[in-house]
Assembly symmetry: C2
Homo-oligomer: 189 residues x 2
Amino acid sequence: MEKLEKYILENGQVINGKILKVDTFLNHQVDPQIMDCIGKEFYHYFKKYPINKIVTIETSGIAPALMCAFQFQVPLVFIKKAIPSTMSEAYSAKVFSFTKNKTYQISVSKEFLNSDDHILFIDDFLANGEAFAGVEKICQEANATIEGVGIVIDKVFQKGHRIIKEKGYDIYSLAMIESLNDNKIVFKK
Amino acid sequence: MEKLEKYILENGQVINGKILKVDTFLNHQVDPQIMDCIGKEFYHYFKKYPINKIVTIETSGIAPALMCAFQFQVPLVFIKKAIPSTMSEAYSAKVFSFTKNKTYQISVSKEFLNSDDHILFIDDFLANGEAFAGVEKICQEANATIEGVGIVIDKVFQKGHRIIKEKGYDIYSLAMIESLNDNKIVFKK
């Protein structure tokens, strides 16, 4: 997605050759127009599947996932990083975050995921695929089918993309970053 | 907003005569169509002001606020409940949550709020107005102007609405709940 790559080059900031900060349009400030384009692009690619639910993990996945859900005209379910007091029975998984160097729990109420569900998982970033592994475990427990994986920014120099692909999932990443060496953003051609 | 009230009556669940759970379309599962209607309704009401930024607090405010930002064609800034490692200088405030019975810190990067900003604050719920007080403090520090306050579900039997109004802010609430007594949802007419 050329428009997104242009945005990333103009607004992205690389920290320590590892972290790509896109706070100006995705992770803190959100540009609704680019989110709309992202939602449409995912819809265009994944509309061949019988998707009835978009799933993401709070917080930064919500904006692109909502715009995608709006295109599909299906509900968005955001998996929570804490178990709220009002949540009754839930599916849960542990996820290790390399960026934060800690393990956290993700949970979804059993009410919102079941064996009738054909889901599209949307996330803002993909690195090692730890978050996706947690979502996969939750979907397996719920007997829900993962039809596809849509990633806004994919750090393909880390292992997540390869693992998800090798498992046979249809993964579509809008911006694929090959390297952040010397704090320079290089896209995969 | 009649459509929203109908949604709340059909899908809302009252817990202990105090908490209104709207997990089916707002706080866990999100209905993008109703979010779109909410965004348009806020735009219709607040378009008279020179709003250049929509502000909300993560997490559940993001969906309605994004749809509203899309209508205004301005950025959305979501205030964070934790200080990420990648955030440099920030404006912060402490917020007490009655639902969770704890104090948490909210922060926004100085990069995304300044004296040129005319903001519309959008939130999913209003009860005692603690979250808004935190946002107000942050905006005062940043010298940003709050042009209006848009609330999706306003528990007007608590003090938040009255306080915000008495301070002179233009507050527009889409669903005003007068009582949750006996676990029954009663709207203000």
